[in-house]
Amino acid sequence: MKSAVVVFPGINRERDMARALKLISGREPSMVWHADTALPPATDLVVIPGGFSYGDYLRCGAIAARAPIMDAVRAHAAGGALVLGVCNGFQILCEAGLLPGVLMRNQALKFISRDLFLRVERSDSPFTRGYNAGQVIRVPVAHGEGNYVADAETLARLEDDGRVLFRYAAPDGSLDPAWNLNGASNAIAGIVNAGGNVLGMMPHPENHVEPEMGCTDGRGLFAGLVEALDRAA
C-alpha cells in the first residue's frame, strides 16, 4: 500500500498517522506539503490527518480545503481512489465538498479527549473490511468540533445508502445519547462519499494500533485497507 499523508501547516497528528501506516502496511508513507500541487506517483491512499490546519481560527478546515494540494486530492477521489480524513481531516473533506455536512462545536462546548466506543455499521467497505459489522471498537477522540450536522435530506440519504460506517455507541453497541458526547446527528462518527472511496471520521484509529500501548482496536481500519488494496492489485 502506497500512502501519502497531506501536511498542512498546523496539522499535528501527521506523525501518529505515519507511524500507524508504517506499522501496519510495512511501508513508510510520503509526506506531502500543502503547497505542492501533485501527489506522489501511484499513490493508493491519501490521508488527511488531524490537527488545527492554519490554526483553524476560521471555520475548521475552511482554509485547508482551498490549499493548492487539494485539487490533486479531489482528482484522486474523483478517480475512485481511496481518501481517509481523520478529525481535522474529516472537517477538511467536508469543507472541500468531498463529503456532505459539517462538523459543529461539541454539544457541551468543550474539547473532549477520551476513549469512546464506535459501532462498525458495515464491513463491506475497504475501510471496514478489517472489522465485523456490528463490532464495537474503542478509539480515542480529541476534538472541540466533532458534532456532525447535515440537513434531514442528506442524513436520510446517508442512512438509506448505508454510508454511515461508524457510530458512537455504548460499550455493548447500543445507541445511547449518553455515549454520543459531541452530540452528532444520528451519532455519526464516520461517513463515506457516494462512491464509498472517501471516508471522514472524527475518532483517531491511528492512536490505537500497538498492543503495548494498551489497545489495538484501530488496527482493523488500516489492516483492512492494506488487504483491500492487495486484493485490487
Binding site: P9, G10, N12, R13, R15, D16, R19, A20, G51, F52, Y54, G55, D56, Y57, K110, F111, I112, S113, R114, P140, A142, G144, H204, E206, N207, E210, E212, M213, G214
Partner: protein
C-alpha cells in the same frame, strides 16, 4: 567618568521619580543605575532596566537562596541558567524540561494567561533543540464558593487545553487545588518536557563578532508591555486595569516556529538561540550577548512589527508571543531564511554581535540605548532580605482528634471533596494521547510517556502540598520533593531530576521571605538526600492581593526514567484474591491532614515529617517489586491517607477489597486517614506475601498485609461495606457539578 554617547531622547518623556516608581524600580535601585552608566538613563533605557531588574527576570530576592540548591549529578547535562534543564537518559538522548508560572496574567485574563504560559514553557524547551513530548499543569484556585473561582477554572483549563491541543503536545498530568488563600491570586504553573539528541543541545551563548542576529517568528505588537514588571508586583483592587499587559497566544504560529526551528537546527544553521519570553527582545538580546562576552547592536527599524508607529521603548518591552532570536552561521543564512519562509514566518536580520560588550539599540537613525551588557544582568541588585522562620505548629496526637463519623462515612465524604475528587473534568479537555506515546494517561501517580519507539519511557509528575508548606516551610519543601519522587517510584520510574516553580507572596515581608527560605532549604535537603538535582526552575513572588498572600506553593515538577515501560505499575487493582500490602510505617499523623481539615474543620498542627532515608529505602523496595513484576498494582499514599489510596485503587478498577488490618496502638481513624509519609500500597499474588515480607525485613522496610482484593465493595473492619460503584459516582461528581453550577452549596 568617561561620558559615552548619550542616547537621543527626542519624543521621550523626561525621567521623574514617579516614572521611575511606575517602572517598579526603588529610588536606591535608580541610584544604582546612574552610578553604573554615569548619567541619567533615557526613557528606553529605563524601560530596559526595569525589564532586566524586576524580580521575575533578576531573581533578586531569591538568588542567594537558590544558589544553595543541589544542581549537579553525573546525568545532568545542563542545570539552571539556561532556557531549560537537560538530563541524559542514555542511548544518545536527553530530556529537556522546565516548569514556569503564569500566575498574574491568568488571574486577569484566564484563557490567554494560561495559554501563553503553556506557549512560553514549550518555547523554552524547543529553543534548546528538543521536540516537546508532554506538558503538565499545576493549578491552584480560590475557594470554590468565591464568585470568581469558577470563571477562573473554566478559563484557565480552556486556555491550557486550547494552546497544547492546537500545538500538538499531550498534556498528561498535573495538579488542581482549591483554597481560600488563592482567592485573589490563582496559580498557573505549566511544565513542558522534550526529547533531544544529547550532543545537539542549543544554548543562548553567542559566539563570534559581527555575526548576524536574526529575528524569527511572529511580528511584534504592543501586547504584554511590562508583563514581567506586572509579575513582580502585588495585586490590588485595580488589577483589572492591567488586562492590556496580558499577551495573546497563537499556538498555530508556535507550531510553525517549532517545526522551522528544529529544521534549521538539524541543518546546523544555529550558533545561539534564545526565545523571547518575559521582557521579550530586551532579555533575549542581552542574554545572548552577555553569555558570550559580546556586545549586541540592534536596529529596531528591521524588527517586523504588527502595527505602525511603535517606539523603541515599546518594541524593547513588548511580550508578543511566538518569537525567537538567533545568531546564525553567516554562510547558512540563506538556507535558514528559506526554511522560515516555507513555514510562512517572519525572518529579519535585526542586528549583529560586537566586541564592545555594549548593548546598543538604534531606531530611526538614533541611538535609543547604549548600555553595558554584562552589568545589565550581572549588576542587578541582589537582596538578602530579612526573614523570620515560621512558628512551629504543635504536633497533634491521634488521640486528640475524636472521630466525628465512622471511617466508612469519612471515606465517602472525603473522596467527594474538592481536594480529593476526580480531575477528569480537567484532563478530558486536554488532548492527552496525541503523538501516540502516552502509556499512562492522567489519573495515576505519574504519567508515563514512551520515548520515541520505546522501550524507554519517562515518568512525569508535578507535586506540592501547600498546607504543609504553610505549617512548616522546611518540612513542606521536603515533602514536595519526596512526594514527586514517590509518584515517579510508584509507576516504576527511576527519579532523575526536578524543576522547581516557587510561588510565594511578597518577599519584602519577613514572614513571607521566611517561607521562601524555609521551603528552599527543605527542597535542597530532600534533593540532596534523594540524589534528585534541581536542573531548572522559576520563581514567582508577590502573589498577594491587598496584603493577603497565597499559601507557599513550591511546585516540584519531576522526571523519572523507565528503561522498559512494560515493567511499570498502575494504581488500579488487577484481579480479585490478591493480597494488599502496605509498605511503610503508620503512626496515624493527623496534623494538617484532610481528615482534620475537611471533616473536623481544623486546619492546624504540624505536618507529617519526612524522613528521607526511610523515603528512599521504602521507595527503592517498591520499585524493585515493580521491576521484578511482583507487584500487580502500586499507589503512593498521600492526601487523605491510606483508606483514600485504597479507594482510588478500587475505583480505578471496579474491584473491591476486604480490609483486615487493625492497629492496636492508634485509633482506627488515625490509621486509615493519617498522612504519614514514605508509604505505598501494593497488590501481589497471595502466595507471594510471606517471601515479600521476609525480603522487606532484610531491607529494613516495614511491610504488612492489610487486606485482600475482590468483590464489588470496599469493607473497612467492623463497618458496613461501601459499594465501589457508589464511591466512584461520588468521586466523579463534584467537579463537573461544580463547574456546571448545579451544586447547591459548593
Amino acid at each position: 567618568m568617561l561620558y559615552r554617547v548619550t542616547p537621543m531622547t527626542r519624543n521621550e518623556p523626561p525621567i521623574t521619580p514617579q516614572l521611575v516608581a511606575e517602572h517598579g524600580l526603588k529610588p536606591d535601585e535608580y541610584e544604582r543605575i546612574i552610578k553604573l552608566i554615569g548619567r541619567e538613563p533615557s526613557f528606553t533605557e529605563l524601560g530596559i532596566f526595569s525589564a532586566m531588574w524586576n524580580e521575575h527576570c533578576s531573581y533578586k530576592s531569591s538568588k542567594v537562596h537558590l544558589r544553595t540548591l543541589p544542581t549537579q549529578a553525573p546525568w545532568v547535562i545542563q542545570g539552571p541558567g539556561e532556557n531549560a534543564g537537560v538530563v541524559d537518559i542514555g542511548d544518545g538522548l536527553a530530556v529537556v524540561f522546565k516548569m514556569e508560572s503564569h500566575n498574574h496574567p491568568s488571574f486577569i485574563e484566564p484563557y490567554q494567561g494560561a495559554a501563553t504560559g503553556v506557549g512560553g514553557i514549550l518555547r523554552d524547551v524547543f529553543t534548546m533543540g528538543a521536540r516537546p513530548i508532554a506538558c503538565l499543569d499545576a493549578l491552584s484556585f480560590g475557594d470554590p464558593a468565591h464568585p470568581r473561582t469558577r470563571h477562573l477554572v473554566s478559563g484557565v483549563v480552556a486556555g491550557v487545553g486550547g494552546y497544547g491541543n492546537s500545538f500538538g503536545v499531550p498534556t498528561v498530568g498535573g495538579q488542581l487545588r482549591f483554597h481560600a488563600r488563592y482567592d485573589g491570586n490563582c496559580l498557573v504553573n505549566a511544565m513542558a518536557v522534550g526529547i533531544a539528541a544529547a550532543d545537539k543541545i542549543f544554548y543562548a551563548k553567542a559566539t563570534g563578532v559581527g555575526m548576524p542576529i536574526v529575528y524569527l517568528g511572529s511580528k511584534t505588537g504592543r501586547d504584554g508591555i511590562h508583563g514581567a514588571s506586572m509579575a513582580s508586583a502585588e495585586f490590588d483592587d485595580d488589577s483589572e486595569a492591567k488586562r492590556p499587559t496580558v499577551q495573546v497566544g497563537d499556538p498555530f504560529s508556535e507550531k510553525l516556529l517549532l517545526e522551522a526551528c528544529l529544521e534549521i537546527m538539524a541543518k546546523d544553521c544555529v550558533i545561539a538561540i534564545q526565545d523571547m519570553g518575559a521582557a521579550g527582545l530586551t532579555c533575549s538580546a542581552v542574554e545572548m550577548g552577555a553569555k558570550g562576552d559580546l556586545g549586541v547592536d540592534l536596529n529596531l527599524d528591521a524588527v517586523p512589527c504588527r502595527e505602525v508607529g511603535m517606539s523603541a521603548y515599546e518594541m524593547m518591552l513588548s511580550e508578543s508571543q511566538e518569537r525567537m532570536l538567533m545568531v546564525l552561521r553567516p554562510e547558512k543564512e540563506a538556507e535558514a531564511e528559506a526554511i522560515f519562509r516555507k513555514w510562512g514566518l517572519d525572518f529579519a536580520v535585526v542586528g549583529f554581535t560586537t566586541p564592545s560588550q555594549r548593548f546598543v539599540v538604534r531606531h530611526g537613525g538614533q541611538v535609543m540605548a547604549d548600555l553595558p551588557i554584562k552589568e545589565l544582568g550581572d549588576e542587578a541588585p541582589v537582596y538578602r532580605r530579612p526573614f523570620v522562620d515560621s512558628a512551629k505548629q504543635p504536633v497533634i496526637a491521634p488521640g486528640a482528634v475524636p472521630p466525628p463519623i465512622s471511617n466508612a462515612e469519612a471515606l465517602r465524604t472525603l473522596i467527594g471533596t474538592p481536594e480529593l475528587c476526580a480531575r477528569r473534568w480537567v484532563w478530558e479537555q486536554y488532548d492527552h494521547v496525541i503523538l501516540g506515546n502516552t502509556v499512562q494517561r492522567p489519573g495515576g501517580d505519574a504519567a508515563v510517556v514512551r520515548v520515541l519507539d520505546g522501550p524507554k519511557a519517562l515518568a512525569l509528575t508535578a507535586d506540592v502540598t501547600p498546607r504543609y508548606c504553610e505549617a512548616d516551610p522546611f518540612e513542606g519543601g521536603k515533602q514536595a520533593v519526596a512526594e514527586a519522587w514517590r509518584n515517579i517510584t510508584a509507576v516504576g520510574g527511576r527519579p532523575l531530576a526536578v524543576t522547581d516553580n516557587l510561588n510565594f507572596g511578597n518577599p519584602e515581608r519577613p514572614e513571607i521571605m521566611g517561607q521562601l527560605v524555609g521551603c528552599i532549604r527543605g527542597i535542597g535537603e530532600a534533593c540532596r538526600a534523594l540524589e534528585f538535582p534541581v536542573v531548572s526552575g522559576n520563581v514567582s513572588l508577590y502573589n498577594e492581593t491587598n496584603g493577603r498572600a497565597i499559601l507557599p506553593t513550591p511546585t516540584i515538577g519531576a522526571v523519572g526514567l523507565l528503561d522498559d515501560f512494560m515493567r511499570s505499575a498502575t494504581l488500579a487493582f488487577k484481579a480479585g484474591d490478591e493480597a494488599i500490602l502496605l509498605i511503610g510505617e503508620t503512626q496515624g499523623w493527623l496534623g494538617q491532614s484532610l481528615y482534620l481539615r475537611d471533616l473536623c474543620g481544623r486546619e492546624e498542627g504540624a505536618p507529617p515529617p519526612v524522613d528521607l532515608d526511610t523515603e528512599r529505602r521504602n521507595g527503592d523496595f517498591a520499585r524493585i517489586l515493580i521491576h521484578e513484576n511482583i507487584a500487580t498494582a502500586v499507589h503512593d499514599v498521600s492526601d487523605g491517607g491510606l483508606l483514600v489510596a485504597i479507594a482510588e485503587m478500587a475505583m480505578a478498577s471496579g474491584i473491591g477489597a476486604v480490609l483486615t488490618a487493625v492497629s492496636a496502638d492508634i485509633p482506627s481513624h488515625a490509621f486509615w486517614f493519617g498522612e504519614d509519609q514514605a508509604r505505598y500500597v501494593a497488590t501481589v499474588h497471595s502466595g507471594a506475601v510471606d517471601a515479600i515480607i521476609a525480603r522487606a525485613g532484610i531491607a529494613g522496610v516495614p511491610v504488612r498485609r492489610i487486606g485482600t482484593t475482590g468483590g464489588e465493595a470496599l469493607t473497612v473492619p467492623g463497618e458496613q461495606p461501601l459499594s465501589v460503584e457508589e464511591l466512584r459516582a461520588r468521586f466523579e461528581a463534584w467537579l463537573p457539578q461544580y463547574m456546571a453550577g448545579t451544586l447547591v452549596d459548593p
